[in-house]
Subunit: 514 residues, 2 copies
């Protein structure tokens, strides 16, 4: 059927969607979410049909992505017809019924996700089915490979390429900003890509962005790495395993994360990593709550790494509370710099040294921790960090106190004295986000009391920073309501953690940040 | 944050969506699929955010549904802020993790589906989880009740109200068009709503529409029923259990149907039915393949009916082949009229008489079948059908041969002689749809040979009707490729039904039509 193009001046964020009037759709035999094949001159593409009641007849509305893909202009004539369902959709239906998928089935799905032949409804059903039925080891491998092969890859032309990744889940985890300069200072290559926060108060990309640009092209990354051995960039626009970004968009509202393993390792493989340390924060405050869960995940990582040709070690790290004291992009960047200068909180230094040391030993060093310690104590790591900042386009002379935080701030004090018995990371996250993090880079929380610390009545528990007084007020209100830090002189004085009367369903906190 | 409204002249088909630029979304702390609360004067509403890369900043793009709900104009200023996740989304997440839902949880979900507070991604995840985990009896009841209470209901002011429904799945099933006039002619009230075809060559609404309008308002339905005791109308725009229509839209591409029971019975309850016969076509060619499955479904229907205060009986009917001979809207309407006139295929008459007889006995009659037979043989049923056609705005004098079919047609002949051993309803459906059904009302297939019939070499197997010669050609090609009717003199001559070499995954036919 010949239809006249109406170009819609908006984008859909990737999906190729074509709008039809109800009557035109009916003539084509097309229902909402059916696919149509659009032909224009010699170009041909598949778009998903959206049906609009009041859209003009005999016209086809094309969003920017579809216009670009077809190269058509307003008013041009295209041919549209009902396209058959893609094979990949039958593979998704098979997974819904609990069937195991073969490699070719998974390739078809991932390819159609990347080429936008599958709707978000279909992707949501696929991810839900994966989340409920689980993935076999082979399926995990096939998914990883398909995600790598449908995206770009970077070849730095040398080996080994080291990398470090956290499965995420504890606030204040700025370890990457310390591990990367330590490893690079020791002469190894470590091209670190990271994400921005979705559910947390700061992602590594958000933290580093307070020091220098992070939105680099692949060409720029290669230049930075060839100059400095390392980089700290945002991975979101590089199209390394782009299927992952599309999956995360759908997983986020659903609070499921069935693709954790292939998601992380496909990106590592795409950037050419050969040796990777996976940090698995474990504990009440983390994404992984128990050691059993952590060990299972670790052995899954190592197994999948082997199948993909990646040398992997996992570190189970203490995840009962935030790491360090600062939470929020600028507050965390400050703390990372301080730690690189040999000061900073001891838990943060300890973890960074530990992970860097593991990487050194994976590539043959004898005493990894000693090398890492030396890099910090000699000032080499800080010097390397300044080189990386300069190479990415930031000011290499920056010092921690130069980074703007606040300017609004307020102290939250204890109403009793005692030792910190427990500390809700979920609540701290909510308070930091309420204060404006991660969007307002100077916003966040600085903890003054951590597990086991003694606090006097009237002593400071934490400090809230915000860029606007209205945000500070609402974060303070939330802090008063939540009481995220619980004190007691002896644990036995405070055995009831929470009471559940006619409570509504507990809203579990979901963390999709990697 | 204050934003200027840009009204988009298109509808989304119901969803309330607001479009923001990436930068505006970022300032609001909104990610794609997050909800935003939009306030304008005293109106307030929740919309789901879509983020568009090139949309202008400080503006909010509103689709027609959102514009209507808020009552705003182009260029007006509204306030937008990030809204918390709805409670219903946490209930959906709980179902994803296999938890049982309470009545209040289900009400929250269904209410948010109807009020468009949940995105199609979230609805897809919910339906997928229901499909995989299954529903408890209580969950089925809660869903039905929630679907009824979030829609309109009709009160005809009398009892009993009879109804008949098929779970669907065999082509050519025009039984409702015969049962309704039989029951109405006997003095009982039977307000029949039905759907249009989605995956089949004709829905009852499509069939009846060849005789008279079916898109009636609730007021018009009441008038028709008070005049004639019955009606045959399209249920799609009546907002009886509207959640069901939204669920079906999402289920359709996924090929799942976890809501079959609540979907059917909520609509029956909304129209005030007191006594319902559920037809469960059972067999190779039907949605329900085995007797075991059919009996389980029947007892689920009866149980759910009891919980909802509906008197239900189920009929397991022969579902190995299409019902009657005509397949396609006009061809089927012709056959229904012929059957009401005392002629027509015997299987169709037998089934209609049987189902009408069950209804009569459910409301106290002794020999239901005899009453039904009498209604047809006396001409009362046909007279009633003409009354209903007239009341709905059609021509009461119409005769079967007046209904336009074709005009293109071709016979498909047998290349051998033998008896019909089996007949693929799926293939017949594909051929009828390829010929243009259900959109082209005169298109379809007429079977000349059914199970057990003897056919000579060169004898007619079936006839294809189309409104356009191009459609006839492609339907004939498909028929040649599929060979939907298999002949054999003795079954033992033809034991191999199909061969599976390096075949791709078998594309199971999915039927969502009720």
């Amino acid at each position: 059927m010949e239809l006249s193009v109406e170009t819609l001046m908006i984008t859909t964020g990737g999906s190729r969607i074509a709008l039809l009037s109800e009557q035109t759709a009916s003539l084509l035999g097309v229902h909402s979410s059916d696919r149509i094949k659009i032909t224009c001159k010699k170009q041909e593409m598949i778009a998903i049909a959206n049906i609009a009641d009041y859209f003009p007849q005999n016209r086809i509305g094309l969003y920017q992505e579809t216009v670009a893909a077809l190269g058509v202009k307003e008013g041009e004539t295209v041919n549209a017809q009902l396209a058959p369902l893609p094979e990949s959709l039958f593979n998704i239906r098979a997974k819904l019924h609990g069937e195991r998928l073969r490699e070719r089935d998974i390739i078809a799905i991932v390819k159609d996700v990347v080429e936008r032949h599958l709707s978000t409804v279909e992707i949501a059903a696929f991810l839900t089915a994966l989340s409920i039925h689980g993935l076999s080891t082979s399926e995990t491998e096939f998914l990883s490979r398909a995600m790598i092969s449908t995206g770009k890859t970077i070849d730095f032309g040398k080996r080994p390429i080291l990398d470090k990744h956290s499965v995420g889940g504890i606030p204040g985890d700025k370890t990457s900003m310390i591990v990367v300069p330590i490893v690079a200072a020791a002469g190894f290559t470590i091209p670190k890509t990271s994400s921005r926060a979705i559910t947390s108060p700061a992602g590594t990309a958000d933290r580093v962005e307070t020091l220098c640009p992070v939105n680099l092209s692949i060409k720029e990354i290669k230049e930075v790495v060839s100059k400095t051995n390392g980089c700290l960039v945002w991975g979101g626009s590089l199209e390394l395993a782009p299927a992952d970004d599309l999956f995360i968009q759908v997983e986020y509202p659903l609070g499921i994360d069935p693709m954790l393993l292939p998601s992380i390792l496909s990106k590592k493989k795409a950037i050419g990593a050969t040796h990777v340390v996976i940090d698995i924060p474990t504990g009440m405050g983390a994404k992984i709550k128990t050691r059993t869960e952590a060990y299972t995940l670790a052995s899954d990582f190592i197994d999948l790494g082997k199948r993909l040709g990646l040398n992997i070690q996992c570190a189970l790290t203490f995840g009962e509370q935030p790491l360090g004291c600062g939470i929020g992009p600028a507050l965390e960047a400050r703390e990372a710099l301080t730690t690189l200068m040999g000061e900073g909180p001891s838990d943060l230094r300890e973890k960074a040294i530990g992970l860097a040391g593991m990487l050194f030993e994976m590539v043959g060093a004898k005493n990894g921790r000693a090398i890492a310690d030396e890099m910090v104590d000699s000032g080499k790591a800080m010097k390397k960090m300044r080189e990386i900042i300069a190479a990415q386009g930031g000011n290499p002379l920056i010092n921690p106190e130069d980074l703007p935080v606040g300017p609004e701030s307020a102290l939250v004090r204890s109403e009793q004295s005692g030792k910190v018995l427990w500390l809700s990371t979920d609540d701290i996250v909510r308070i930091a986000r309420e204060a404006g993090a991660p969007k307002e880079k100077g916003a966040g929380v600085v903890l003054h009391a951590k597990l086991g610390d003694a606090v006097h009545k009237g002593g400071v528990l934490f400090e809230i920073y915000a860029e606007r007084s209205s945000k500070l007020t609402s974060a303070l209100e939330l802090a008063g309501k939540l009481s995220p830090i619980v004190l007691s002189n002896k644990p036995e004085e405070k055995m009831i953690l929470d009471k559940v009367p006619e409570k509504t369903r507990h809203e579990k906190v979901f963390n999709i940040d990697r």
